[in-house]
Subunit: 200 residues, 2 copies
Amino acid sequence: MAEPIAFYFDFSSPYGYLAAQRIDELGTRHGRAVAWKPFLLGAVFKTTGQQPLLGIPLKGDYGRRDMERSARLLGVPFTIPSVFPFMSVAACRAFYWLSDRNAEKAKVLAKTLYAAAFAGGRDISSARAVVEIAESVGIDGTELAEALRDPAVKDRLRSEVDSITAAGVFGSPFIVVDGEPFWGHDRLEQVEKWLETGGW
Amino acid sequence: MAEPIAFYFDFSSPYGYLAAQRIDELGTRHGRAVAWKPFLLGAVFKTTGQQPLLGIPLKGDYGRRDMERSARLLGVPFTIPSVFPFMSVAACRAFYWLSDRNAEKAKVLAKTLYAAAFAGGRDISSARAVVEIAESVGIDGTELAEALRDPAVKDRLRSEVDSITAAGVFGSPFIVVDGEPFWGHDRLEQVEKWLETGGW
C-alpha cells in the first residue's frame, strides 16, 4: 500500500484553501490517501523571518490579485475574510480532536471551516465560531467546546506543530509525496506529475 | 498590432534563467514580441524587505531543490554559480547599450550570459567576464569595455531600473501582458492561458 500524501496547511492560508479544493481528488486519481495536517504558520515565520504576504509593500497587492485570479481560474469562490490574517489555533485544535475520533469527519470540518473563511468571509478565529461551524456539520457543540478548553487537546496540537516544523515544513500549503517536498498551491501540477512518474 | 509581452528579470535570478528558456517561444505561439527588460532586484528588495531566497533558513534549502527539480522537468541544464547571489550591474549595462544598437543581438547576449552563469556556473559579475562572453557572440569587446565605463551608459541603466521599480515590478521573473502582472517562472502557464483567452 502506497504512503498517503501529506498535506500541511494553515487554516488562515488562502493558497491552502485553494489546494484544499483539489488535493483529495488528486490523491484519488493516483490511488493515494491524503493525510490532512493543519499547523500554525506563525511558529515557522519566526525561523524563516517571513511575514504575512498581504502586508508586504508591492508583493501584498500583487498577492491579493494573484489569489483572486488563481481562484477564478479554478472556478472556486474566494474572498479575503473580514479579519485577516487570523489566529487558527481553535480550528486546529478542533481538527485534531475530531481526527482522533473520526478522520473523515475531521476532513469535512476542515473543508467547512475553510469555506466559511474564504468563500463566506467569516471570522473563524474564535472557539465560538469554530463550535458553531462544527455544529453545522453534525458535531456535538457542547462536547467540542469542552474539548477546546482541555489541556490534553492543547498539548495534542502543540506536539503536532512541533513535529511538523521540526520536519522542515515552512509554508502553506506544503505537500510531501514519498519524501519529496512541494511548497505552494502552484506546485500541484508538479505533485501530480511526481505521482504519475515516480519522480524525475 | 498587439503589445509586446514585457519580460522583467535579474541576471542573477535562477527562475529568471528558467523563464528565459521559454518566454520567446511562448510569445511566438501567440504572435507576440517579447521585450526583455533586465533590472536590479536588490533595489526592490529594500522596498519589500525581501532577502535572497537561498540564504533563508529552511526556504533556502527547499528553494535550491525546487530550482533543480524545475530545471530537470524542463530538460534545461542548471547549476548555482560559484559566486551567488552576484552583482549583475555590468551584465545589465551591456544589455541596454547593445539593445539600443541591435535589440535581437542584445537578446542573444542575455541568453548567453544566463547560460554562462546557470548552465556553466561561471561568475559573470565583473565587467571583464561580461566583455569576454560578449566577444564570444561577435560583439566588439573593446567598444563594450569602453561603454561599460561611460557615464551615459550607467545613467541609461539607472533610469531603466527607476522606471521598472516605479511600475511596481518586485520580483524576477516578472511578466506583464496587456497590463496584467504575473510574478514567477511558475506563472508561465497562466501567462499562456491569459494570451489564449484574453483573461478570465
